[in-house]
Symmetry: C2
Subunit: 157 residues, 2 copies
């Protein structure tokens, strides 16, 4: 049945545990999905926004899918936590550091941050565009803890 | 510390529960990640490949991240299952159907398939390129069941 046919019900709402499509409107915005300030800027991080894509509107899977953007010169808190990050770069180029490793990453690169590894995401000052990425996490997870230094990660030890 | 410095350890292996980067080499291939035939072609589906990105190499999160491609004229099995799909389109354009809904989707569109909704992904015969998408699922999940028709979905009921 074609969705243009008269008999098709109204498009599904964004909220609820039913099948749905979140429309990408270009430039990494999605219809009906609000832009959220990730948290108020502090000395420990700068210039990050978040969009909650799946997991907080009634979807029942065991994970949350979010889209983050870091503006040029911005960076995330240097932190660690028990839960993992699964990241897929979608826009621009940026840096990710875990332990002693620094990676320059761009579209399509996949990043895994393992439990308790101190890590940080950054977009260089001279970047011409935002650094945007999908970040998938367990639905049930611990709170991040800021750390003073990158210290040792599982690789370095 | 810069990764080019002498003191930096060798890059992390793809296998193991440590932080890592899977390098996108362009054209939706990743260093060290094999291309898998999704399953042998049958009457019920055609022309799909899969790449396991995260979740099967020692990562400990509660979900698996895969990349699928459907060639022009290809389609997935019309099926249903208890586990959900979280899909983000990365390449080309294609169709997704659940219940009575058909959506044409392209880059950045986010698709959620709720439990037990019959669904199918398709790439039209005249498409000029593969239809590629990330698909995230719970690590623990039931097996799909092929269905004869799209039937009712949660929206239509």
């Amino acid at each position: 049945m074609d969705p243009s046919a008269d008999s098709v019900p109204a498009p599904p709402a964004l909220d609820g545990n039913h099948s749905k499509v979140l429309r990408h409107t270009g430039e990494f915005e999605w219809e009906g999905v609000p832009l959220e300030d990730y948290k108020s800027t502090t000395e420990s991080w700068r210039g990050i926004t978040r969009r909650e894509l799946l997991g907080k509107r009634g979807e029942s899977h065991d994970f949350h899918v979010r889209y983050f953007e870091i503006e040029p010169g911005g960076f995330s808190t240097l932190e660690k936590h028990q839960h993992e990050h699964a990241v897929i770069v979608q826009r621009g180029q940026g840096e990710v550091q875990f332990g002693c490793y620094v990676y320059r990453v761009g579209f399509g690169d996949v990043i895994y941050v393992s439990p308790e590894d101190p890590h940080q995401f950054r977009n260089p000052d001279d970047a011409g565009e935002p650094f945007g990425f999908l970040c998938i996490v367990n639905a049930t997870r611990d709170r991040p803890q800021a750390v003073d230094g990158l210290g040792a990660c599982h690789i370095c030890e």
